[in-house]
């Protein structure tokens, strides 16, 4: 999904969700609210994909099921800035790895691995979890600190080696995961933190922006094997360092690097 399209959707959704922050909210809290529509859109898309997956599975349509899985996955990956920090239990149920007895990867293994479309139970579970998540994202308090944590954690994780094929190796979509993750980081940073950091330290803001642009360029390759892995890793670390430096300047604590479930 292109950045401008997302912003347009977000603007539309702000009206739809009628989420006016309270008068005492800080600029960061207000900005965090602007992330909500994007997050909601991602989860809604994931849920829609999962429901389509349910239909395709019921119709015994393997190719249709695969396409639906891919579309559900994309929405989920875009939202990962939010998921592990705010809804850890659901995150584990939806995205378990490597012990994928349920969730995306269990379904992936059967659809893309075995070519087996009989995944009804796992898909029903996925729909149930995403439905719960869909409700949660509309109400949950979006703390700027929590979103900073999520952004930093995800950025660090993007730099991990995928030379084993990554988490979504069976469907061959680890590169798509990375692109969606980076898209999510981009949106979160731009919407929530960029303006505040720019106001306090334009040079640091420029650095963070440059790192994100570099990350987007690094994953704009044909396939996973083309990624300049060492450079990607370095840039993700530089981005996280920039976020660490920025945090105190915008009144936040250092971003935590591990989710605390």
């Amino acid at each position: 999904m292109s950045y401008t399209r997302v912003v347009a959707v977000a603007a539309l959704c702000i009206g739809v969700f009628n989420l006016a922050p309270s008068a005492s909210a800080s600029p960061l809290d207000e900005a965090a609210e602007h992330y909500r529509p994007y997050l909601a859109e991602g989860i809604t898309a994931a849920l829609k994909g999962a429901k389509t997956l349910q239909t395709q599975v019921a119709a015994d349509d393997l190719e249709g099921a695969k396409a639906a899985w891919l579309s559900a996955r994309a929405g989920w990956e875009r939202s990962e800035v939010f998921t592990s920090g705010f809804v850890p239990k659901l995150d584990q149920e939806i995205d378990a790895w490597p012990n994928a007895t349920t969730g995306f990867h269990a379904i992936e293994a059967r659809l893309f691995g075995t070519g087996d479309v009989h995944v009804k139970n796992d898909v029903d579970d996925l729909v149930a979890h995403l439905t719960e998540l869909d409700g949660t994202v509309r109400k949950v308090a979006l703390t700027p600190q929590g979103l900073l944590n999520g952004t930093a954690q995800l950025a660090y994780e993007v730099g991990e080696s995928k030379s084993d094929g990554g988490e979504s190796r069976i469907s061959g979509t680890s590169l798509d995961d990375m692109r969606n993750n980076i898209g999510g980081i981009d949106f979160a940073y731009s919407t929530i933190f960029a303006a505040e950091i720019e106001a306090r330290d334009p040079k640091l803001a420029a650095t963070a922006r440059a790192k994100i642009e570099q990350l987007k360029a690094l994953v704009a390759v044909k396939d996973l094997t083309q990624i300049d892995v060492p450079t990607l890793r370095n840039v993700t670390e530089e981005l996280v360092v920039a976020l660490q430096s920025a945090a105190p300047k915008i009144g936040l604590g250092p971003p935590s690097l591990e989710p605390t479930p």
């Binding site: 592990s84 850890p88 995150d91 584990q92 995205d95 378990a96 790895w97 490597p98 012990n99 994928a100 007895t101 990867h105 269990a106 293994a109 059967r110 893309f112 691995g113 075995t114 070519g115 087996d116 660090y156 730099g159 991990e160 080696s161 030379s163 084993d164 094929g165 990554g166 190796r169 069976i170 469907s171 061959g172 680890s174 590169l175 396939d223 996973l224 094997t225 990624i227 300049d228 892995v229 060492p230 890793r233 370095n234 670390e237 530089e238 996280v240 360092v241 660490q244 935590s256 690097l257 591990e258 989710p259 605390t260 479930p261």
Partner: protein
């Protein structure tokens, strides 16, 4: 080591005992730089023990040796597919030894061999035939000139440069890095062996069979009295003669050492033999030695004695990893002081990669194949990520010329690595992949997931 590469097993090889074997790293899908089925044995619980000459004489490794060790473990001194896949010299020469389990489909003929003139790591050097050579151990390398299986390089320095640039598409290494690599490799010592003493002769603890084997070893060949095993494998000279000979294996090849050779399989330039019995049978056949089966068995006993070494393996664990990481990062002190940006960058990239890998051996909370120790795991992972980021700061500061900041950051880093990191990581170790039960559960889950790819449709 930076790489996390996995080896994927074809359905036909799947057995219940597989967990103990080399399944640790499944490379899955078709979007991997290394071919599916690659086995690097990176997850081995026991690693070759590395003995350094400078430590053996009660000294400490020099800056040069530590820098060389660092470069040896750096994927970024190589290029192309190796760099992409996180391969470094240490991938094949684990702890300066070899890697008898290494196998890359299409590039290896036997485990422990690799085709350095193949299409994967430098297409420009591809000679369009599968002529894999065994990975030699580097123990005692300073005694074992010339270099290369056919002894084509008199100079170790030239040989190393050739490996980096021509075999692995690396950029021209800086003179400093080359010097360091030479220093490091020359510091890798043989494992001590109580079986051989003065002039390479068996000591008093030898068995009768070994002594008979020793006698046979120097006995002139019946059809050519100028030859004997010992004529080329000179016991008083590390069992080499620094020359190339044709012993009926398809060309002139350098006499390889027999010191510590118990752990250097497979044998011969192409790794065709896995046991000394096969090697002895080869010479018996080619030179028509007329050995009885007792003779052969005695020779094998002798070779086992000569090829032995004290404590050839060490259990891998977090403290071993941290010790190595600290040795690598020790180069940062002098490098920051001398404003050596290149060395700083190399150290930050390589050590950061090692720290990331260490963190990955502590499963995150989402890994449902591990239970317990959630708090300990979280604290250890967080601490490791913190030091990775401090290292990154050091590099960012150095690049911008802020060496005072880099120095301050290095102090924080050193302090953390000396105190809290070892403690936190060791506390998390019971729930880490260093612990066999946890390791096996994690990889069983992974294997089960990837097994689906090869199941019949």
């Amino acid at each position: 080591m930076f790489v996390r590469v996995f080896s994927f097993v074809a359905a036909g090889l799947l057995t219940g005992i597989a967990i103990q074997q080399a399944f640790a790293f499944p490379v899955g899908g078709d979007q991997t730089v290394l071919p599916v089925g690659t086995e690097l044995n990176e997850d081995a619980i026991d690693l070759p023990r590395e003995v350094f000459k400078s430590e053996a004489i009660d000294g400490r490794k020099s800056y040069l040796v530590n820098l060389g060790d660092l470069a040896f473990n750096a994927p970024t001194i190589l290029g192309g597919a190796a760099r992409q896949a996180g391969i470094s010299c240490a991938s094949c020469h684990v702890n300066g030894a070899s890697n008898p389990k290494l196998f890359v489909p299409g590039m290896s003929t036997h485990p422990g061999t690799f085709d350095t003139t193949g299409p994967l790591f430098n297409p420009n050097a591809d000679n369009h035939t599968l002529d894999a050579v065994r990975i030699p151990s580097l123990r005692g390398a300073r005694y074992l000139a010339p270099y290369g299986h056919d002894g084509r390089f008199a100079s170790l320095r030239d040989f190393i440069r050739n490996v980096i640039v021509d075999e692995f598409s690396g950029p021209e290494p800086s003179p400093a890095v080359l010097d360091a690599l030479v220093a490091y490799i020359q510091d890798i010592d043989f494992l001590p062996n109580q079986n051989i003493g003065l002039d390479g002769k068996l000591t008093s603890i030898a068995t009768e069979a070994e002594r008979r084997g020793e006698a046979l070893f120097s006995k002139p060949f019946p059809h050519d009295p100028t030859l004997s095993c010992a004529a080329c494998h000179v016991p008083s000279g590390a069992f080499v003669d620094h020359q190339q000979h044709d012993v009926g294996s398809g060309g002139l090849f350098k006499t390889p050492t027999l010191v510590n050779a118990d752990f250097n399989g497979p044998y011969f330039h192409d790794g065709r033999y896995t046991t000394f019995a096969q090697v002895v049978a080869h010479f018996d056949r080619v030179y028509d030695l007329g050995l009885s089966s007792q003779d052969r068995s005695d020779l094998v006993a002798y070779l086992n004695a000569v090829g032995d070494g004290a404590q050839p393996y060490e259990r891998d664990g977090s403290s071993a990893e941290i010790l190595e990481i600290n040795d690598f990062s020790s180069v940062l002190g002098p490098a920051i002081a001398t404003h050596d940006k290149d060395t700083i960058a190399l150290a930050v990239d390589t050590v950061g990669g090692e720290l990331r890998e260490l963190a990955e051996r502590i499963p995150d909370w989402k890994d449902t194949s591990v239970s317990g120790g959630v708090k300990e795991r979280g604290l250890a992972r967080t601490a490791l990520k913190q030091v990775v980021l401090i290292l990154r700061r050091i590099d960012m500061d150095a690049t911008a010329g802020r060496f005072d900041d880099a120095s301050a950051a290095y102090k924080s880093y050193s302090y953390l690595m000396a105190a809290s990191i070892p403690a936190l990581v060791s506390r998390a170790e019971p729930w880490s992949l260093f612990t066999p039960a946890v390791h096996d559960a994690h990889y069983a889950a992974l294997r089960q997931l990837l097994q689906t790819k090869n199941m019949p449709q």
